[in-house]
């Protein structure tokens, strides 16, 4: 009787552990499967023309050209959005760390940021669209950049905040004890400690920005030309993928897979880069 009970709970243990490992393999396996699918289907269609040419006449019916317009457009969009988001995020992250800390207000601001993070990009897009109608702005690179910066803002602040909160506060206390004002602590101590966090946050936000389709769909429009002005509409990679897959021509769809591969490669490079850079920069912070 006792023996049986012993056996049962141990079988249960082994069973659950087995389930856990299977689940883990399932999650890791889906990542592998996604990358594999995109590479296998995208690679055959990935030609030099794809990344060096803009769409030419009849591109969406299978004629020549590439998605350079979308690549450049996406880099502009995500780059601009990240720049604006960085300019706004830095003061917020510094303020959260040096002035608010773990206070009620600090928690309130973090709540707001987390909530913003959770708002889907289609809602950002719809909001951007509503504002654009109100002020009479047309779909343009500028509108896309602004909406993307809003999408990226909470990601960036929270990423910086997470990093800096894991650092010891001794340095800040020491600086305060020597008579520095909080501003001086923020600008000369905290910001240096935050550096690896800033780099990771920037890359994370850039990655999110470049992959985001739903928000730029409304605000940046789509065009076959590389934008020459902030007030012109611009193409973006995710939408390029989406539109090419939407056509009935297999030729074009294949190029859609290749575009998806380009996008995936950019994301892979960004993740790998952020890992390497932050490991390197972490050596220069006090832990």
């Amino acid at each position: 009787m006792i023996k049986k009970h012993w056996a049962r709970r141990h079988i249960e243990e082994a069973f659950v552990k087995g389930l856990m490992i299977v689940s883990f393999a399932l999650v890791a396996g889906s990542l592998g499967l996604i990358l594999w699918t995109v590479i296998v289907r995208g690679l055959p269609a990935l030609t030099w023309d794809m990344v060096t040419q803009s769409p030419q006449g009849g591109f969406y019916m299978g004629k020549g050209g590439g998605v350079l317009n979308a690549i450049i457009g996406s880099l502009y969009l995500a780059g601009g959005g990240t720049l604006i988001a960085l300019i706004v995020s830095l003061p917020i992250a510094l303020y959260l760390e040096t002035y608010l800390g773990n206070s009620e207000w600090g928690r309130f601001v973090r709540l707001a940021l987390d909530v913003l993070w959770g708002i889907p990009s289609i809602v950002y897009g719809a909001f951007g669209f509503a504002v654009m109608i109100a002020i009479g702005l047309r779909a343009s690179l500028l509108a896309g950049i602004i909406v993307l910066s809003l999408v990226e803002l909470p990601i960036m602040v929270r990423a910086m905040d997470e990093v800096i909160r894991r650092m010891p506060t001794d340095l800040e206390h020491a600086a305060l004890a020597l008579g520095s004002t909080k501003l001086e602590v923020a600008l000369r101590v905290v910001i240096r400690q935050m550096l690896p966090g800033i780099v990771t946050a920037v890359l994370l936000a850039f990655g999110r920005g470049i992959g985001d389709a739903a928000s730029v769909l409304f605000t940046a429009g789509y065009t076959d030309r590389i934008p020459t002005s902030l007030l012109r509409p611009t193409a973006s990679l995710p939408l390029a993928v989406f539109f090419q897959l939407g056509t009935p021509y297999p030729e074009v769809q294949k190029r859609g897979y290749a575009s998806a591969l380009i996008l995936t490669l950019i994301i892979l490079i960004i993740s790998l880069g952020s890992r390497l850079i932050s490991a390197r920069l972490n050596r220069y912070t006090v832990k």
Binding site: N102, V123, A126, T181, V241
Partner: protein, 332 residues
């Protein structure tokens, strides 16, 4: 900013000569006060943004609410913008179906994975898991969509649908009523993978707040690890786990492009997971082009965005509050 840099260089140059150029304590304090105010204003931006978002969407939605009653819009069955008919019911049910299927598929696996990582896994496994999850979270929705289109839709069409036809056809929610794989199930599978990294990392973080003493006490009296997890660890963090799942659900609710590409986009109330559906975000994304040419169409679509915003705000605020409280416990 520029001014302070200048004083900084002057200060260091004069270090050996004397202190006459060092800014006075009063001016430093003044600058601190100014900076505090400026920072506060910038920090209020996120809050302001949420309010602004809600207000501008409400303003744009207002016209349609004056013509149609709320009940008419929510429970209306026909969607014919040309005739002024805006029945959201097929889209609302479609959203719910896809989200529920995605969450149901994701949750068991996610809980097991986070329990595995926090309670069993070797530190090497953990260091492999982190980049895997980070990368899963970083992959753009449209790439998920491509994957869904190339792998999941055919899989549902060729494997799952015939299986269900053979064994489960008597159960209405598993009935196969259409020949393609563009279905709620495909959307749910793609969503499940998309929200997995979020749920796993939240639950993992929550599990880390359980004091190790509790685990040790339970193990010391002879419980197995699983018994410890089930009877000691999980009861401690149940609200946090629920909050993590709700966060995942709200992420699934708003997912647009990936779902749109695999779910079929047929505006009918679904009855089976093999039926196509037309979730709200897909509706907004697909029709933004015609929005301005048909009266009230823009109000209807921005109203759909407003509904999404409100539901997601509620989900997010509640679950974030729960998580903040639970994670804060660790620090004190």
């Amino acid at each position: 900013m520029n001014g302070s840099n200048q004083t900084l260089t002057i200060e260091s140059r004069n270090e050996t000569e004397g202190r006459q150029n060092r800014p006075s304590a009063a001016s430093r304090r003044g600058r601190d006060r100014t900076a505090r105010k400026a920072f506060l204003v910038i920090t209020l931006l996120p809050l302001f943004l949420i309010v602004l978002m809600a207000i501008s969407l409400i303003l744009r939605t207002w016209p349609i609410l004056r013509v149609h009653s709320l009940a008419e819009l929510v429970f209306g069955m026909t969607w014919k913008p040309d005739n002024g008919l805006f029945g959201f019911w097929p889209f609302i049910t479609g959203t719910i179906w896809v989200t529920v299927v995605g969450v149901l598929l994701a949750v068991p696996a996610c809980l097991l994975v986070s329990l595995y990582l926090s309670e069993y896994a070797h530190s090497t496994t953990r260091s492999i898991a982190k980049p895997v999850l980070d990368l899963l979270a970083a992959i753009p929705p449209v790439v998920y969509g491509v994957w869904g289109l190339l792998a999941i839709v055919p899989f549902v069409e060729k494997v799952l649908a015939p299986l269900s036809k053979r064994w489960l056809s008597s159960i209405p929610i598993f009935a196969v009523n259409q020949p393609t794989g563009f279905s709620i199930l495909s959307g749910g599978i793609v969503l499940a993978v998309m929200i997995a990294p979020l749920i796993i990392s939240v639950v993992y973080e929550i599990l880390a707040t359980v004091p190790n003493d509790l685990r040790h006490a339970s193990l010391a009296v002879g419980a197995t690890k699983w018994q410890t997890i089930r009877q000691v660890v999980i009861p401690q963090v149940l609200p946090g786990i629920v909050a993590g799942v709700v966060l995942g659900a709200s992420r699934a609710l708003g997912e647009t492009i990936a779902v749109l590409m695999v779910v079929g986009n047929v505006a009918r109330v679904p009855t089976s997971i093999f039926d196509p559906a037309y979730p709200l975000p897909a509706l907004i994304a697909n029709n933004y082009g015609d929005m301005m040419s048909i009266p009230l169409y823009d109000a209807a679509l921005l109203g759909a965005a407003l509904v999404l915003l409100i539901v997601i705000l509620i989900f997010n605020i509640i679950s974030t509050l729960v998580l903040q409280r639970m994670l804060g416990r660790k620090k004190t």
